[in-house]
Point group: C2
Chain length 216, copies 2
């Protein structure tokens, strides 16, 4: 079976990358777990980095397609509408059977802050376009926020989301006891982000002239 070999490699790579990290997982680990030959990875994918790209593309393809559909359907959205259009298409996959999506989301969250730029780029290049659309749509719902303040707050939200993805599957959270259900996590994230993004802008004693101009 040729197509099965590719899928078996993708499944094993996804799980091992999520559990041990990309750099700490060898191709031997993957082919052993998948019960395929070592050389099959290079035959089907070309390189280890291309395998990582394929892992992201398999699940991010449908997710990003749904995100675009939801953005297209938005009419005069508020902050929460835009946030949910971006986040829900990913989080709702947690309701599917098996833990494949949970592992994938952990991998996404961790790779997003990876220390190695080459590895991080494999993910970033697949969310750059949808991410730009998301940022633009979100900023449009916050017209009174100075651009640099929006910029900061947008990154706070991205960080909160990435961290949630990276650790929502984690058993041993260091500082707290336990985490709520997937749907509750999404609701909590949206509530938190909506309030944070809509907080009144500081009177800004040391804000730049350009930003002050943007306030009008």
């Amino acid at each position: 079976m040729l197509v099965d070999t590719k899928e078996k490699i993708l499944d094993a790579a996804e799980e091992l990358f999520a559990d041990q990290g990309f750099a700490s997982t060898s191709l031997r680990d993957i082919t052993t777990e998948a019960a395929v030959n070592l050389a099959a990875v290079n035959y089907h994918f070309g390189s280890k980095l291309d395998l990582l790209r394929a892992v992201f593309a398999r699940r991010l393809g449908p997710v990003n397609a749904e995100r675009f559909e939801r953005f297209d359907a938005l009419e005069d959205p508020d902050v929460e509408d835009v946030l949910r259009a971006f986040v829900a298409p990913l989080f709702k996959r947690l309701r599917e059977p098996g833990d494949g999506w949970a592992k994938f989301m952990q991998l996404v969250g961790r790779t997003h802050s990876d220390t190695n730029d080459e590895i991080r780029a494999c993910l970033i290049e697949q969310i750059r376009v949808i991410g730009a659309r998301f940022a633009g749509a979100l900023q449009a719902t916050l017209p009174d926020l100075p651009p640099d303040v929006f910029s900061s707050r947008f990154h706070f939200f991205v960080g909160a989301m990435a961290h949630t993805l990276a650790f929502c599957r984690h058993q041993d959270m260091p500082l707290v006891s336990s985490l709520p259900e997937p749907d509750a996590i999404l609701d909590n994230l949206v509530d938190f982000a909506v309030a944070g993004l809509r907080a009144p802008a500081r009177s800004a004693p040391a804000r730049s002239a350009m930003s002050l101009e943007a306030i009008k």
Copy 2:
């Protein structure tokens, strides 16, 4: 000079770990950059992981000491007081000359979400105690928040902070133009987090019995 060799290794390791990541930086990279002999790393630090621990300990020691002092001095604090007691002792170091602290903060932010548990543990073990105190003090300022909601929101804040640390030194932010000054970043983070943490709790249609009980 013996003490200088240790410092030179620490400086080079900090910079290279922050720029390329721990796994992608070899001891040869470090000793070349530091202009010391390869064997000096194992002589002075024992292993590569122990070197990483030493990099964290050097700067986190004074920062955490100041955090404890500020927590001890708190009297009937609100959410913002607790947040600043934890965050300010680190962020204020950005005002010191040179970019050593900026590199260090980037390393902290990235290591916090590292895909490899062994690497992440080198950092976590040095912030576990102060982190637990921070979480406890913060929760005390939000007595009306159900514990599981607080738990989620606390992690959102941690993610926002880690992401900010990891990328505040980054030139090429993918989605936005530029980032404001260090002091403004801290103010923005605090404003965002205070609003997010104090957002009213959702009426909770599917909350667990224990959490409902905690609301009382």
